[in-house]
């Protein structure tokens, strides 16, 4: 098989085919970039120049990697909640945090609103960053390839507060549905707005579903499934919709394809062989090195060995992308990212 470019390799796996070899795609997020460049969160999240410079430098330095998610605007994890009316607090280190807006039920339900990406919360600021990044990236021969948003349940957990939301599954299920309904419409509008702001170059949009790791199958079917279905059926045309769940998802993993997701970033708590068996024929799997384990602390040789184990379990038949699960942790050495590429060359060349 002729050697593929990193992008071709990534796309082949994304569409459940066998590339020439397993793509190595470290999940570089804001936290890693901030550590690598010694930037505080206020600077990183507000500075187009900082984000542009950092991403172009790192991605140019490793042309053999298809970075995942690749170029995108970073704006922290609270943008959806901010558009729904949550106050946002900015700790000196780390990502912004949302304060719940629905503090008492039913009293505060009248405060529920669907966020408008052009006018509400931090969304206009994030869109401006997307537009500016899309504009400038073309100077370097790159384009925005990924969108990301927090799924309805994750957004609801910020709008209501995680503990109260989980209790409300029993105490006030109707109110939870109302919150999820507004969160879903906000997510749909936000996915469309991101896509448009990128200039239509996005290949995939990943939707986080981390809260689902803490709920059972019955609750997932009632409170997550219908809203995820609505969200994935409203994705921009041609964009692959994916789910990110970096914690345990064994109890619901087989349900993910039913909502229309075609990519699954799964966590280190899930055995890659289990994930492959349950959904590997319907979804491209992306994972699942633990960010704070061997990838951060180990030697390059140990990283290669960890990669080999994952590749052997999840790569046969194609549809697999080697990545970290939650993110690449702050201060993870670059040598260990290079070790991921080497492992794919050594152990992930097809046919396996």
């Amino acid at each position: 098989m002729a050697e593929m470019s990193p992008r071709e390799r990534f796309l082949a796996a994304l569409h459940l085919r066998e590339p020439d070899r397993v793509p190595a795609c470290p999940w570089l997020t804001s936290d890693w970039f901030m550590g690598q460049y010694g930037l505080d969160s206020a600077t990183w999240y507000s500075s187009l120049e900082a984000q542009l410079r950092a991403q172009v430098e790192i991605y140019s330095r490793f042309p053999d990697m298809q970075f995942f998610p690749g170029f995108r605007a970073s704006y922290g994890s609270t943008v959806e909640a901010s558009a729904m009316g949550c106050e946002i607090v900015y700790p000196p280190e780390g990502a912004p945090q949302a304060r719940p807006v629905i503090r008492e039920i039913p009293r505060d339900l009248e405060k529920l609103r669907v966020g408008n990406p052009e006018t509400d919360g931090r969304m206009p600021e994030a869109l401006a960053l997307y537009r500016a990044l899309a504009d400038r990236l073309s100077d370097y021969g790159y384009e925005i390839t990924a969108g990301f948003l927090h799924g309805p349940m994750d957004v609801a957990s910020e709008v209501r507060g995680m503990t109260d939301l989980l209790l409300d599954l029993y105490r006030a299920p109707d109110a939870v549905h109302q919150i999820l309904d507004a969160a879903t419409e906000t997510c749909i509008a936000w996915a469309q707005a991101q896509y448009k702001a990128s200039g239509g170059t996005m290949l995939h949009i990943l939707v986080s579903d981390d809260v689902s790791s803490q709920i059972g199958r019955k609750h997932w079917r009632e409170f997550v499934e219908p809203y995820m279905k609505r969200l994935f059926s409203s994705m921009p045309e041609g964009v692959v919709g994916g789910i990110h769940n970096c914690t345990r998802s064994q109890q619901v993993i087989d349900l993910y394809p039913t909502v229309g997701a075609r990519l699954l970033q799964f966590g280190p708590d899930v055995d890659p062989a289990f994930a492959k068996e349950k959904v590997g024929s319907q979804m491209c799997l992306l994972g699942n090195l633990a960010p704070s384990g061997v990838l951060k602390e180990g030697t390059p040789e140990q990283v290669e060995e960890a990669c080999r184990e994952v590749i052997q379990k999840a790569a046969p038949g194609g549809g697999f992308i080697l990545s970290s699960s939650g993110s690449v942790a702050r201060f993870t050495p670059l040598e260990n990212l290079e070790a991921m590429v080497r492992a794919c060359e050594k152990y992930g060349t097809y046919p396996l």
Partner: protein, 130 residues
């Protein structure tokens, strides 16, 4: 000797994740002459242990653990009201023991989830891990 079934009723109410029922069964046990220590250890804690076993087997999840915690709170409030200021240290000690026990069941929650927990209101068990 008071009817032992009353303590089993308390344990069952916690296991069934029913806060009001827990309060009612604790009240019934107190009125029947059971002491706070017996009610806590053989009723509330026994029910909580069964919840913990189900959680560790992944038959139930965090919402159920949170509901069990609500039951424990309601049960301890009943006892607190019954014993008054004199018994407050006993109840506080029991609360602490139960919280530590429940915390021991929880896995190390990932940063994805603890990020969300940071914005949560208080829950004695989750505070330990977040």
């Amino acid at each position: 000797m008071a009817n032992r079934t009353l303590l089993e009723d308390v344990a069952r109410a916690v296991y069934n994740l029913a806060p009001n029922e827990t309060a009612a069964t604790v009240r019934a046990a107190l009125e029947a002459g059971w002491g706070p220590v017996d009610i806590i250890d053989q009723g509330i804690a026994a029910g909580m242990e069964r919840v913990g076993e189900e959680y560790q087997r992944q038959n139930i999840f965090l919402p159920e653990l949170l509901m069990a915690e609500q039951c424990i709170r309601r049960g301890l409030e009943e006892i607190e009201g019954f014993v008054g200021e004199e018994g407050a240290p006993l109840v506080a000690g029991a609360r602490q023991r139960l919280a530590e026990r429940a915390a021991s069941w929880l896995p190390a929650l990932s940063s994805c989830v603890t990020r969300l927990l940071h914005s949560s209101d208080s829950f004695l068990t989750l505070k330990r891990v977040s």
